[in-house]
């Protein structure tokens, strides 16, 4: 539990706020290169600021305040490209480097980028990623309840025997031991990271199923978050992808509500979004009751406050990189065989929001062509 004042401090990110100052020290994605080939300008609302992104005649990009006083000049911010995405930096200059995370720069991958506007504060979305146990319920038992009439059983319901959280250079590694597993399993031994401050990295590293997934939570303002689902699928040996799948990031809008306005409870992202949004526009942490399974959340909040103090003391916060030698490729922990994926690649693929990608079927077809046994779902 935190005080109402601490909750305000942790969640508010507009200009002039302390947490806003911390998040402004990091590059944030604002779109793809591909979408800007088709248009010259785009509105961007980021950290409570209304901005205009435009492609100039030199092929570069400008990001300026969308409106400014007559006779004045608009604030301008840095824009750069990495991994087929456009990134903006709203912090003090000189800007640091955009961290070259493995999945963003891996070669020969099929890349997709789903996005949606989630009508709630960014922090409750991030806290979900430091909350290992929620998968057992929200994506396990609750999923089975939603599909009760169909008798669905899912691998997510396996019980958590142990959870662990370790700080590492780029953030926090989250670990779990599920019933029947040991600490030798990748779920514990390797784990998967939250890249500080606002990216969940969860992929799969087996030869037949090698993918990178980043969930990037970009605050639009205090009560809205642009959620990006980035995926980069590495071609298994023997699989070939047509060039049009490889030459750009394929963006799409991820639906998050059904036509009747309710949440999409039969999909993993819809379950998450139900939980996040139902906590309120800004979750009232002065009325929560944290248990022993919530220590990843507490660790993350403390890290936010610690890094806030660092910038207020005049230092770069965690994960701000300025030395190009440290930024060749940032290799993140990546699990190979994940217990929660026992339902098989294709089944999970279809349960997840990636199914809304316009190239979803093409991705499945390419991966099937490798005839990797692990990709075949049990009937």
């Amino acid at each position: 539990m935190v005080t109402p004042q601490e909750n305000e401090l942790l969640t508010r990110i507009g200009p002039g706020t302390r947490m806003g100052a911390l998040l402004r020290r990091y590059w944030q994605p604002i779109g793809t290169l591909g979408e800007m080939l088709e248009k010259r300008t785009k509105r961007v609302r980021l950290l409570g600021e209304d901005l205009a992104l435009s492609r100039n005649d030199d092929g570069g990009y400008d990001l300026i305040e969308a409106s400014f006083p007559r006779g004045g000049s608009p604030a301008a911010y840095a824009v750069s490209e990495l991994g087929g995405l456009l990134w903006a930096y709203l912090g003090p200059l000189p800007a640091p480097l955009i961290p070259r995370l493995d999945g963003l720069v891996a070669e020969g991958t099929i890349r997709i980028l789903g996005s949606a506007v989630i009508p709630c504060n960014w922090l409750q979305i991030m806290e979900n990623s430091l909350d290992a146990v929620h998968t057992e319920w929200l994506h396990g038992h609750f999923f089975e309840f939603v599909k009760e009439s169909e008798g669905l059983k899912v691998s997510f319901t396996r019980r958590h025997m142990k959870i662990g959280f370790d700080e590492f250079e780029y953030g926090i590694v989250k670990r779990r031991v599920l019933e029947g597993q040991t600490e030798e399993d990748d779920d514990w031994k390797i784990g998967h990271p939250v890249v500080f401050p606002n990216i969940l990295a969860i992929g799969n590293a087996s030869p037949a199923w090698h993918e990178y997934r980043f969930q990037i939570r970009v605050p639009i303002d205090d009560t809205h978050t642009k959620h990006y689902w980035f995926g980069a699928f590495v071609m298994p040996e023997g699989a070939t992808a047509p060039a049009h799948l490889l030459d750009r990031v394929h963006e799409y809008e991820t639906p998050i509500f059904q036509p009747d306005g309710d949440f999409m409870l039969d999909s993993i992202h819809g379950q998450d979004i139900m939980a996040w949004v139902s906590q309120g526009a800004i979750a009232d942490r002065s009325r929560e009751s944290l248990g022993t399974t919530d220590r990843g959340i507490t660790m993350y909040r403390r890290m936010l406050l610690r890094e806030l103090k660092r910038i207020e003391d005049g230092h770069d916060p965690k994960n701000v990189i300025r030395n190009p030698e440290q930024n060749g490729v940032i290799v993140l922990p990546l699990e190979g065989t994940k217990a929660q994926r026992a339902d098989g690649f294709e089944t999970l693929f279809r349960r997840h929001q990636v199914r809304y990608s316009p190239i979803a079927e093409e991705i499945l077809e390419v991966l099937r062509s490798a005839r990797a046994p692990q990709l075949v779902s049990a009937p």
Binding site: E127, D131, V133, H134, E136, W137, L138, H141, F142, F145, R159, H160, F263, L265, Q271, M274, A275, S278, Q279, G280, A283, D284, R287, E288, S289, L290, G291, T292, T293, D294
Partner: protein, 428 residues
């Protein structure tokens, strides 16, 4: 006229307010039994509290705080079990009293759950409705008002969220004269082109208000009526604190109507129009009409947002909501026809004091012997019903009910049967 402070005191119903404390002494309808048949949960906002009505797998109902005390995800998406409901986010389980009874991922033997208490309130069933009680325990009885429990009645209930404070809706029910204007002359004005005239437009010669055991009886004498008419002699009651009971005992039908005003919060009211029609003995009524209490949602505004002024309920809702979200009683000017309103406000103040002192306020019943069947005053041959059952039915929100035409048909058949009994068909 009231002071601004008095107005606040009389209108605000959230937790911790004096009027909220009084209204929490009474059972409030929160759903129909029918609407929970095919669902496990329903969000219920009641007197400023966000709650979830749930059905467990043993078919018991619970009414608990919507937000899980753990990390405040919504229990409206909860997973029902035999003895409670689990939060969809982390599986914490709550019973109907709001007590946390399981935290599946906390260590064995942990007492953490014992210290986690969500809001939890009693639920009861009567007349096809589910009622919730948000007051201090032990809860009193749900008053078995005649229309809710009368045998062999056809029932239906309309529901709408009216975007204004509950008190101005209740005051309307202590204001007999408004019918002459709002439902009479205004209606005739709306229908001027059609040349429509209605019985309701008759002039009030006299009005009266008397306190009785369950509330206030409202009486009226229309021009040309005598004091022996039921409108004056019997009258019809406001059942304290928030139900208008206006029915008709004359003619073929025994008809009970309850307008129940349930405060959602300070600026929204869940309005139920509950009807029970007892057809004459011997009439043929389809079994489903006797078994089910269908819920329907009459429109309260037209598609373009304008009020539905050709309907009686639309006229009322226009008047209530145009008074403002919370009517500013510091700027009103009450006349002699408003003394029912004043009497009701004084009664609210008096009963607030009773509740504050720890007593049971008016209409709270704890003795089952007193609660077998509460027969309320019921007028026969109501002057305002002079246009006839079907004509009034079609002008009222009841016409939006899914069983509206079936009710009219049962009535028409009964009327025909009686006519034939009186006038045997002549032999050709």
């Amino acid at each position: 006229m009231l002071t601004a402070e008095q107005n606040e005191r009389l209108t605000r119903v959230g937790p911790g307010t004096p009027m909220g404390a009084l209204l929490r002494r009474y059972w409030m309808p929160v759903a129909t039994v029918g609407e929970m048949r095919d669902r496990w949960t329903k969000r219920v906002r009641l007197m400023g509290e966000d709650l979830v009505l749930f059905k467990d797998r043993s078919s018991n109902f619970g009414l608990i705080g919507e937000f899980c005390p753990h990390r405040r995800a919504s229990l409206a998406y909860g997973i029902p079990e035999a003895d409670g409901i689990r939060c969809p986010y982390h599986g914490w389980k709550f019973d109907g009293a709001g007590q946390c009874i399981d935290q599946p991922n906390e260590p064995d033997g942990s007492t953490f759950k014992d210290r986690i208490k969500n809001a939890g309130y009693p639920v009861s069933e009567m007349g096809g409705l589910l009622w919730g009680y948000l007051g201090p325990l032990p809860a009193p009885l749900v008053p078995r008002l005649d229309g809710f429990v009368a045998d062999r009645a056809i029932r239906h209930v309309g529901e709408a969220i009216v975007p204004c404070n509950w008190l101005q809706i209740m005051e309307n029910s202590l204001d007999p004269v408004h019918t002459e204007w709002l439902h009479g002359l205004l209606y005739e004005f709306i229908k001027e082109r059609d040349g429509v005239k209605v019985a309701i437009a008759r002039h009030h010669a006299k009005i009266g208000f008397d306190e009785f055991e369950y509330g206030i009886i409202k009486r009226r004498l229309m021009e040309g009526q005598s004091e022996d008419s039921d409108d004056w002699k019997v009258g019809h009651p406001v059942v304290f604190p928030n139900i208008l009971a206006v029915g008709s005992g004359g003619g073929l039908w025994q008809q009970y109507t309850f307008q129940i005003r349930v405060p959602v919060d300070d600026t929204h009211t869940r309005h139920y129009w509950y009807h029970a029609y007892v057809p004459p003995a011997g009439s043929v009524v389809a079994q489903h009409l006797l078994d089910d209490v269908p819920l329907y949602e009459p429109p309260i505004v037209a598609d373009d947002g304008s009020y539905l002024l050709e309907y009686i309920h639309g006229q009322d809702i226009m008047a209530w909501t145009t008074q403002g979200e919370i009517a500013d009683r510091s700027r009103e000017n009450l006349g002699s026809s408003d003394r029912g309103v004043t009497m009701y406000r004084k009664m609210l103040e008096r009963e607030m004091a009773v509740a504050e002192a720890g007593g049971d306020p008016k209409g709270v019943i704890r003795d089952p012997a007193r609660n077998e069947y509460i027969e309320l005053p019921l007028e026969r041959n109501k002057d305002m019903f002079g246009d006839g059952f079907e004509s009034l039915f079609r002008r009222h929100m009841s016409i939006f009910s899914p069983i509206a035409e079936e009710i009219i048909a049962v009535f028409a058949q009964a009327r025909e049967a009686r006519r034939e009994a009186r006038e045997p068909a002549s032999v050709a």
